[in-house]
């Protein structure tokens, strides 16, 4: 047994007039370890169902596989991972103690630190971590067939992603809700901490830029999409004013009004795009839309939160919960047959048209959100830990919340692979390959020699018509493909083929909504980080209310992601194809940083025997991302290596060629030279910073192991004076204790500990 963090005085500090703030350890242990026949039967049934589902997905090679097996494989694996693996982490590694008050109790202020019902907080946390990421990555990764992505999403979340979220949330909670950056500085020292901060900032820029690129690709040359997504801005402004001046605090009311307006905007978009002026006015090319998003991003980030960000966040949360429940229902009811092979022809190659690079390591960076997402570490530290009611609830909220996101990723994968493979490749390959017309795209897809794929131009044209778009060729980025898949499934569930266009634009709308919220919030967070860093040299910058400083830092951040966005939009090689791996690498490097910090903390707690729980996902994330970065930096294959591509194009220019590969003009060739250089340099910076952080964490870990532990930076333990059960369903012992608390007079029950 390792050293348990300091608990002296905790038992004496408990209020004798109150019931216990925690279920007695021996009672809980006895309950957990007691296996009744019914309980055994249940887990045997879950395991068997899961095994059958995995067998159907992985080993049975029929013509088709039913989507329901994806749902069973995922849910059964999650249940087993949650019940057994996360329990091991709880019992041996984290050792939460409900006798200790959480920050929401001992720092309670009624505003930022508020004890929140566990089920509400679960939804709250889920809405904060899940966005467009899990909807996009799996779609792009479907290039390699369904099985590699499915395995990584389901196994990856159980052993890596959910572990990271759980650990970061727990450690942040023990530290009064400190952010990942602050924890890195405390645990890793100045060098490691600074490298972590700079890496985080750069990674945020890349992530925001590529999310914005997904929106641009979805809206380019789509009058309907531009109109309905554009309408979200006035709708949000209206909601903001309504909440501020007309009916303050009526959040549900305004969200419902906003939702109705949103539906009207989608339906109205179809009508507007159908008119001649509407089609002309809202038909924008990608560069124009990119500029629009950049200008919008700047304005949105300097406007007050209440006017635009907060109301859009309400809408986005509302849509998120609704869409996910609906999609799950639809997949279970419709149960589409999947014709995509388990491993596609591209699984063994590194020159796939959708994203380039070999299965290892690039599949594992292409699917980041849903399996392992470093960005979550920023959410799991900070907001959520300030709202947790009891320590034991972190397992349900942190680990369980991430399992839920993984499930979203699986459903996105199912929706995307339920469409014809020919359509999939026509939609996701760069324009330079498909040629942009239905004829050239169909010819190119058929020339790939894919099994059972024989697409006609008519099918491509008809699909575009069904979803209310002029064309679906080369709509890369994942969002449009998911929208077609979702429309395909949803119309079988509600509305029939006539509703396909509505469902398509509904899907585009919610993806754009999630992404714009992430862009806006990301810019703000990055701006504050920058202000804080500059503030170390010029103190004035630390004042958040100093307008010139805030505007300057916002402009720098928007300028940075805007430049990457424009680079992606104008890239002759197809922005998604080259940039998406960079997005995944950035996100996974952040995960490696977060896990490295957790490793150092765990070692300092003295729990060496179970260190592998953190070390294993850290090693995997580090190997995957560093290998991927090295491929991107050193690979001699131009399709994979940024510098190899740079040299190939430089040489072609030097030889006086006027077209090379997919670049048809000298200007395009120069753009490739420029872009690959920037992307290459970014990769070098990322991987260097991350290696510094990981090495710093390893040094801290080894030191702690040698010393038999280390200094912990936890807040002092405060005795708890409240009680709530740990998971979704209270156990009998929890129910009994809860009844004791409920029997207390109301004023004793709501008493806040440690307040005056």
């Amino acid at each position: 047994m390792g050293k348990v963090p300091d608990q002296t005085g905790l038992a004496e500090g408990l209020d004798p007039t109150l019931p216990a703030p925690a279920v007695d350890d021996s009672v809980r242990e006895a309950e957990e370890r007691k296996w009744t026949p019914a309980k055994i039967g249940l887990w045997v049934a879950i395991s068997l169902l899961g095994a059958v589902a995995w067998f159907m997905l992985a080993l049975v090679r029929g013509e088709t596989v039913n989507a329901i097996w994806f749902v069973f494989a995922a849910v059964c694996t999650y249940l087993i991972g949650y019940r057994f693996y996360s329990k091991v982490i709880e019992r041996y590694l984290l050792k939460p103690d409900d006798h200790r008050a959480t920050p929401a109790e001992y720092k309670a202020d009624g505003k930022d630190y508020v004890r929140t019902d566990r089920n509400v907080l679960f939804g709250h946390h889920f809405a904060a971590i899940a966005g467009a990421g899990p909807l996009v990555g799996p779609v792009i990764a479907a290039q390699m067939g369904y099985l590699p992505g499915t395995i990584w999403i389901i196994i990856g979340v159980v052993l890596a992603g959910a572990v990271q979220d759980y650990l970061v949330m727990f450690f942040s909670m023990r530290r009064g809700g400190r952010s990942l950056g602050q924890m890195a500085r405390e645990e890793l020292g100045v060098i490691g901490g600074t490298a972590a901060l700079v890496a985080t900032l750069l990674i945020m820029i890349i992530i925001v830029a590529i999310l914005a690129l997904v929106v641009v690709n979805a809206l380019g040359e789509s009058p309907w999409g531009v109109f309905s997504v554009g309408m979200t801005i006035p709708i949000a402004l209206f909601m903001g004013v309504y909440l501020r001046f007309i009916r303050p605090g009526k959040v549900m009311e305004v969200s419902i009004i906003g939702f109705v307006l949103l539906m009207a905007a989608i339906i109205g978009g179809g009508a507007v795009a159908g008119t001649e002026w509407g089609a002309a006015f809202f038909h924008l090319d990608k560069v124009t839309i990119a500029w629009g998003i950049i200008i919008y991003g700047f304005i949105a980030a300097i406007l007050p939160v209440w006017l635009l960000l907060a109301p859009r966040d309400y809408l986005s949360t509302f849509m998120k919960i609704g869409v996910i429940v609906m999609l799950a229902l639809a997949i279970i009811v419709v149960r589409p047959e999947i014709t995509v092979p388990a491993f596609s022809e591209f699984a063994g190659r590194e020159n796939g048209p959708v994203f380039s690079g070999a299965l290892f390591p690039f599949l594992f960076v292409t699917i980041a959100c849903g399996a392992l997402s470093g960005f979550h570490a920023l959410i799991s530290s900070g907001t959520t830990p300030k709202l947790i009611e009891k320590e034991r609830q972190t397992r349900f909220i942190g680990y369980g919340g991430m399992l839920m996101e993984s499930f979203v990723a699986i459903m996105a994968l199912v929706a995307a692979i339920s469409i014809d493979r020919g359509i999939y490749f026509a939609m996701n390959a760069p324009l330079a390959l498909t040629g942009g017309t239905v004829e050239s795209a169909a010819q190119w897809v058929n020339s790939l020699g894919l099994a059972n794929v024989n697409i006609t131009p008519d099918v491509l044209a008809q699909t575009a018509k069904d979803v209310g778009e002029e064309s679906i060729i080369s709509r890369s980025g994942g969002a449009p493909t998911l929208a077609v898949g979702l429309a395909h499934i949803m119309q079988q569930f509600i509305g029939g083929p006539g509703m396909m266009a509505f469902w398509y634009h509904f899907a585009i709308m919610f993806e754009a909504l999630f992404i714009l919220t992430a862009v806006d919030a990301g810019t703000r967070v990055a701006r504050f980080m920058l202000q804080d860093s500059i503030g170390n040299f010029i103190p004035k910058f630390k004042e958040a209310s100093w307008r010139p400083g805030a505007w300057l830092c916002t402009a720098i951040m928007v300028g940075a992601w805007g430049a990457v966005l424009l680079m992606g939009v104008t890239d002759p090689l197809g922005g998604i194809n080259t940039l998406f791996p960079l997005f995944g690498i950035a996100n996974q490097l952040l995960a490696a940083i977060a896990l490295a910090v957790c490793l150092a903390i765990t070692a300092k707690r003295g729990v060496f025997k179970w260190l592998w729980i953190v070390a294993a996902p850290l090693a995997f994330a580090a190997v995957v991302t560093i290998t991927a970065s090295f491929h991107k930096i050193f690979s001699p294959v131009p399709a994979v290596g940024y510098f190899a591509n740079n040299q190939a194009f430089s040489k072609a220019l030097a030889d006086g060629k006027t077209e090379f590969g997919t670049a048809k003009t000298v200007a395009a060739m120069e753009a490739v030279v420029r872009n690959t250089m920037i992307q290459g340099v970014l990769s070098v910076i990322f991987v260097t910073l991350s290696i510094i952080v990981i090495v710093a964490a390893l040094i801290a870990t080894v030191r702690a192991i040698r010393a038999g532990g280390g200094q912990d930076h936890e807040d002092p333990a405060v005795p708890s004076k409240v009680y709530a059960p740990a998971g979704l369903i209270p156990t009998p012992a929890e129910k009994k204790l809860l009844a004791e608390w409920n029997a207390l007079p109301a004023e004793k029950r709501t008493q806040k500990a440690g307040h005056h």
């Binding site: 009624g110 966005g131 959040v251 549900m252 969200s255 007050p304 979550h376 920023l378």
Partner: protein
């Protein structure tokens, strides 16, 4: 029928607290139980304060 209404109410309440609609009620609860001096903020003041504090304390949203 009654059960349906109750279920619907439950979902609405859950969604409401998920989006933070009960923030003011919780603030008041905290305020009265912790025995602060002076009057509590009104609902309008509370929401203003809440939004304005978010300006200088942004919360990330994930991808």
């Amino acid at each position: 029928m009654k059960a349906v209404v109750r279920g619907f109410r439950g979902v609405a309440t859950y969604l409401g607290s998920l989006m933070g609609a009960d923030a003011y009620r919780k603030y008041l609860e905290h305020f009265t139980s912790s025995g602060h001096a002076g009057p509590a903020m009104t609902e309008r003041e509370f929401w203003r304060d809440r939004m304005d504090r978010q300006d200088s304390n942004p919360q990330g949203r994930c991808c």
